[in-house]
Every structure is written in C-alpha cells, then in structure tokens.
Amino acid sequence: MSHWVLIAEDDEHIARLIDFKLRKSGYETELARNGQEAVSRLAIRPWSLLVLDVMMPLVDGWTVLKRAREMDGLARVPVLMLTAKSLQGDHSVEGLVESRSTQVMRKPFDPAELSQRVASMIEGAPKRQGDTAS
C-alpha cells in the first residue's frame, strides 16, 4: 500500500522541491497552496503524513495542525512542520510540538534529510484502524 502525503506550502518552488523528492522516494503526494486549501483537503484521504509550512497566507500551519488534531482520523497522524523562523521562545506552539508525532524542520533544509525524516516518522507512527500491514 502506498503512503499519501499532504504538502501544504505557499512557496511554489519549495512545494515542487518537496513534491519531487517525496515522489522520488516512493510516496503519493498532493499539494495545497495555502492553509485554507490544506484544511479543506484534510478529510479527503487517509493521510500517512502531513508536511505543513508554518507561514502561509489565509490560515497558518499551526492552525491547520490544530484542525487536523481535532479530527478523528488525523489525531495522531505524523506531522512535519517547516519553518524559517526560530521557535525559541514562542510559547504559543510549545504544547503543539511536544508530542513525538509532531516534528519541526528548519528552513533551509536538505531535501534528502526531509525525505528520511518523513520515512522514519511514517514508520514510527501508530497504525490507524482499518490499515492493513503494507
């Protein structure tokens, strides 16, 4: 069974970069160009992982993350947050990145490292109900 990854990133070139690398690594991907689009796509598929840019127009990455966590199917889905800003001292997100299923990656990032991180997060994620072993 192939894994579906939702990529929410407003920068066209970075989105294409992630998309390219993850497809190359064998994942099925779908792109959302802003937070609102990402939220509207949360329910359409049983996502194996979400890649969310923090700074997006309309709805930011943290909000998308909160929405996903409120949904039954995505409460424990691995989420990789991408950010160009340091999170040091940002108390509003401290609670959100504590859990193992939410990780943060700083920009600029190495695409190979991103793909490795995605792989290890999907591997370590708790199996969803109804999933068959791949």
Partner: protein, 553 residues
Amino acid sequence: MRKGYGVCPPPPSCLVKNLTIGRRPVLCDSGQVGGQFNLQYLNNRLSPGNLGIQLVIAGVCFVALSLVRLGLGSVSAVDLRHGAALRAATGVGMILLFGFMLYRLYVSIIKPIERLSLTIQDYRNGNFGARARISGRNEIGYLEASFNDLAETTSNLVNELRALDLLKSEFLSTVSHELRTPLTSIGGYARLLRDGDAGPLNETQAEFLGIIETNVARLSGLINDLLDVEKLESGRMQVDYRPQELRSVLKECVETLGVLASRKGLKLDLVFSSDCANGLGPVLGDRDQLLRIFVNLISNAIKYTPSGWVRVEASQSPLGVTVRVRDTGVGLSAEERERLFRKFYRAKSGLTSGEGGSGLGLVITRGLVEAHQGGIEVESEPGQGTVFTVTFPRAVDRADQNFRQLERPRSKLEGRPSSDNGFRILIADPETDKRILIKRALLQKGFLVDDVPTGRQLIRRMEQEDYNLVLVELGLSDISGLEALQAIRRNPRWAGLPVFMMLDEAANPPPRAILASCGADQLVGKYRGIGGVVDAVISHFQQLETNRSEAGP
C-alpha cells in the same frame, strides 16, 4: 496675559510632535497632556509672581508692625499703661504674623517641593506615569508643570524608542524569513541535482553544485548570526542556566574541530591544569551556548593559523574557571585587537586568506560569554599568535545555601511589595544620596535593607549579620569595591553569597574578566537610574524562588 517668563515654552503637544520621526503616528496619546499639565495654560491663567507678592506683602506688614513697636517704645515713657497694653498687643500680633508666615511658607513652598521631589524620585525609579500635582498659581506651580512637561516628553521618547526597537526586531525576523525562503529553494534544488535525483552529472557539474551549496550554507549562517546578535543586544537571547561541567564541553569541541585542524595540518590539543582532576567548574550556563563559545574561538584560531598548533588550556581557582585558546597563527596588531569585538570587523589577514566569515562570530562569542557573567580578553602580537582568555565565575550552590542560612517566612516577591519579604540586603556606597535612594527603593519592594558608606564598615557589618545579597559600589572611598569583593570572597563563610557590583555613571567599567575572577555575580549600572539596580535585585530573588520551587515541593 502675563509675561513673567522670558521664554514661553511651547505646549507639550508641540514637543511631542517635534520628537516624532518621519510621518509615523505618535504612539503615546498626546491628548492626555492637557489641562493641568499644560504650561501655556499656566502662563495664561495663573500669576507666576503670586508667591513673591505674598511674601513681599507679609514682609511689609512685618516691617510696619516693627516700626509701630519702635514708635510705641519711644512714647512708652509718657503713658506706661497704654504703652504696655499696646506693646503686648503688637508682640502677640508679630508672633501670630510670624507663625502665619511660617505656615504659608510651609504650605506654599516646602510642602509642594517635598511632594515634587518625591514624584521625581518615583519617576527616576522607572514609574514613567508619575506626574506632579500643580499646587498653585506661582513659581512652584510652574516648576511642577515644567516637570510634568519634561516627564511627558521623556516618556514619549522612551515609548518611541521602544516601538522602534520592536520594529527593528520584527523587521529582522521578517527579513530573515524572506531570505531563508529563496535560500531553501536554491540549496534544495542544488542538492537534488547533486544527489543525482534529476539524472547523472559529470564531475565539473557536481563540483559547481557543491560550490553553490557551500555558499548557501554560508549565507544561512550569516542570517543566523545576524539574528543572534540582535537577540543578544536586545537581551532576548534565552539562556537556560544550569550547572555545567566544562571539561566535557571542551572535549566535545576539540573532538568536533579536530578534523578541521588536521585538514590544515595543525595540531589541536586540550590541556587541563592539575586542579581540574575532579572536573572543571561547574559553570552556571547553557550547554549549547557554552559549546558555541568554544567552537567559535577554536575554529577562529584554526582559521587564522596557517601552520603550527592550537591549544586549549583550562584551569580553575575556587572562584573562577579560565579557558585559554592559544594559537601560533598570524596574530593581531594593536588596532586589530581593539576592533576585534566590533560588529562586522574581520582581521585583514583573514580577509586576504580568502576564508569566509560574517565578522559577527566574536561579537556573538563575547555576548554569550557576558550572558554567562563571564569575561573575554585577547592578547596578541602580529606574527606571534593569539591567546583568547575566557573566564567564568564558578557556580556555587547558591540557592541552597541562601535558604539554609536564613530561616525566613514564606514570601512572594510580587503582589505584596509593602510587606517585608524576609530577604536581607546590605548596600555599600560612599554617596549618601544614592545609597539612601537605593535603600528606599528596595525597602519599598519589601526587602530588609542596611547601608554603610565605606568598605571597612561593609566587612564589619557582614561579620556581625547575615545577608542574602550585598550591593557594592565599585568606587568605594577607603578600599576599592574590588578589594572589598576580594576580601568577601576570601572568607569561606561568604563563598556562596551573591555580590552585585554597582557602577556609577561615567565611570569606566573594569574588564568583566577581572570582575568574574574576583567572584562578582553581576555588574549593575547606576547610570540608568537606580531602577536597574532594583530590577537586578528583584530578578535575582525571583530566580531563587523559581529554583527553589522547582527543586522541591
């Protein structure tokens, strides 16, 4: 309208306008500067000469009565009975008049001045909202209105600067984000190509892509450095203070950088003096940032050393930990030494060697060292190599010791400032005014405060009593503040006692390394008003309370 004053000052709203920079709106509402604070209003409505006139009238009455009395004296021989009655009456009248004058003097001059000076003190202590109440239509009233005006202007300026500072930080943060986004694309696609994700490459193409990647890393490092400098300067750098054993920190640095050194054919050694057998330190600080300090210094030494060796030497005394990074590199001229810690400065020899660098490394290093209450110094001659010496105060289990020393009631530093919080502080300052000012401010915050004017009295008082904190002015008159500090630190009884050194305005601060090696805990400047001293004391005790509540239930 009276023209009692040579220059009619512009109303506060004008002053405020003059201060705004460009067309940005004034952040502080100048509308609240109306009515009673307005000088123009005073000039129009009040009579500034009132007080003088009152006094002149009172004086004339006094003189007239005296004259009457003198006149009566001359006729007293004629009619003794009437004379006696009149004399008694004028005597009583004079006493009453005198008493009345004294009362007027108190009410119209002394009382308002007293009130005004209290208000000014309040303002100096950092309450920028403090304003004087206008007491009357006279010179004092004018003085009070003038103070209000100045206070308003200054607080507007402070607000303005704070807003600007905030804008600067926001700007840097936004710019860094805007720079990192294209950098992510450039570096990311270069990496994809070099990894062969888009097809096979020839050797030259791979080499060129490697060059792109190196420069992306450099640019990215520069952005991080810029943000760090900003954080250090604004005091927003977060340091997680915990006792750290420095030996493992230094070992880790040397291991990491060994590769870099050997690639250049340099020998990189780590030497501990014999007193480090049981560990180095501990030093109170953040492990990551301590690592960064030494990685910066060692990689800098490697960068500027074409051949020979780089040696890291560590030693300690009961009070301080000293680490020297010594190299046989190109060295520095006197001019270069002086500019070394300035932003964006890079030694010439480095510029021509083709080595990269933002010129921010040492600024960050020094900032981080100072954030750990330490000091950094450089010794070097051109062609003779360079030695960087970093000194940190050695951490003593202060929190614990302090709370064992004095059994004190449970207290909160916030909330009830008027009630006493049980902490005892001793101030040593030769200047009575400032000493009393600091004492009063600390008393207000609920501390128990004693004060002495000289260094010898300081030591004597400390021998007699137990204190939780000592504030020592560096410029004591009998023995210097540093000598007093050394005397304190020589006595094991006070090993864990926090000592804050105060520095008066316009004085040259001694190198932090010396302060640190003498065992000073903090250097607080008095030149920004005594508010800084009070804040330092409060945050020290708040830290203690936090540590204590974290340590145990």
